[in-house]
């Protein structure tokens, strides 16, 4: 999905995370090393921005719902990473990412603890935050 690719691209450029290595489109892969981050486009809302125009013309903007999940081996690392990403996403306005206009990104609230799981390497802590994105089609 474009919104996943765009936000991964944006975060890749704004943080030490690297797309495809520890920053992923979609849910964080089970076998990826922690810490890592996944950007999931999980829903969309009807656009409120259609205007009179030609058939099939795209609305001025569309709403998409995105979750950013951070996984790390310690609670502190997960919180730090999730909060750093939140600071880069919440209330982002008027950005152009990969040539596409992002009018606004607003969070449903700060990142929160989701769960812990255990693998051979030890515990893994998960934090998530959800965002509503108003962007140009694509």
């Amino acid at each position: 999905m474009a919104v996943e690719a765009d936000l991964v691209s944006y975060l890749d450029g704004a943080t030490a995370l690297t797309a495809g290595t520890d920053l992923f489109e979609g849910p964080v892969p089970e076998n990826a090393a922690s810490p890592c981050v996944g950007v999931v486009h999980y829903g969309s809302e009807p656009s409120d921005d259609y205007t009179m125009g030609a058939s099939l013309a795209a609305p001025g903007s569309e709403w998409e719902l995105v979750q950013v999940m951070t996984r790390a081996n310690t609670r502190a690392a997960a919180i730090t990473q999730a909060n750093a990403l939140h600071a880069l996403l919440d209330n982002l306005q008027g950005a152009t990412i990969n040539g596409r206009k992002y009018h606004a990104i607003e969070s449903d609230g700060p990142p929160f603890f989701l769960k812990i799981d255990t693998v051979a390497a030890g515990l893994r802590w998960y934090y998530v935050a959800n965002y509503r994105v108003r962007k140009a089609r694509g």
Partner: protein
């Protein structure tokens, strides 16, 4: 776990609600109440069910009591989890279980999936102002 949707930003709806007073609030309550009841089957169908003796989370999905505050705010909601799950979860927290099931995009489900409440709400909520206006227009004609 509780999901609430507030209809805001629609000045026309708010003005009509204020103009109609108590009748407007009652009309809004009816519209939102019907809307929440219509959502419940869809939300239940999308709720994850544990393949081994599961279904308690799905069965816990229910509408909250409709309320109207003194300032005229009409509130309708859907709840999943909470008290009905307590007897099944042992020492685990009932609300935490529901939140994890709702928010965890990495979980693999054979039935249902994450965001089972929110997806339905957010798809239907934008249509509510139009339905509210229709109900308020009907009340205005009566007056």
């Amino acid at each position: 776990m509780r999901v609430r949707v507030e209809v805001s930003g629609s000045d026309e709806v708010r003005r009509s609600l204020a103009r109609l007073g108590r009748a407007g609030q009652e009309a809004a309550r009816k519209v939102l109440g019907a809307e929440v009841q219509a959502m419940l089957p869809e939300i239940r169908a999308n709720t994850p069910v544990d393949p081994e003796d599961g279904g308690q989370l799905r069965d816990s999905v229910r509408a909250t009591k409709l309320t109207i505050t003194r300032t005229g705010r009409v509130s309708a909601g859907v709840v999943a989890g909470g008290a009905p799950l307590r007897k099944y979860l042992g020492t685990r927290k009932a609300n935490v279980y529901a939140v994890v099931q709702h928010e965890d995009m990495t979980a693999k489900h054979t039935t249902g999936g994450p965001k089972f409440v929110e997806r339905t709400f957010m798809r239907r909520a934008p249509r509510n102002p139009a339905k509210l206006m229709e109900a308020l227009d009907r009340e205005a004609k009566k007056a």
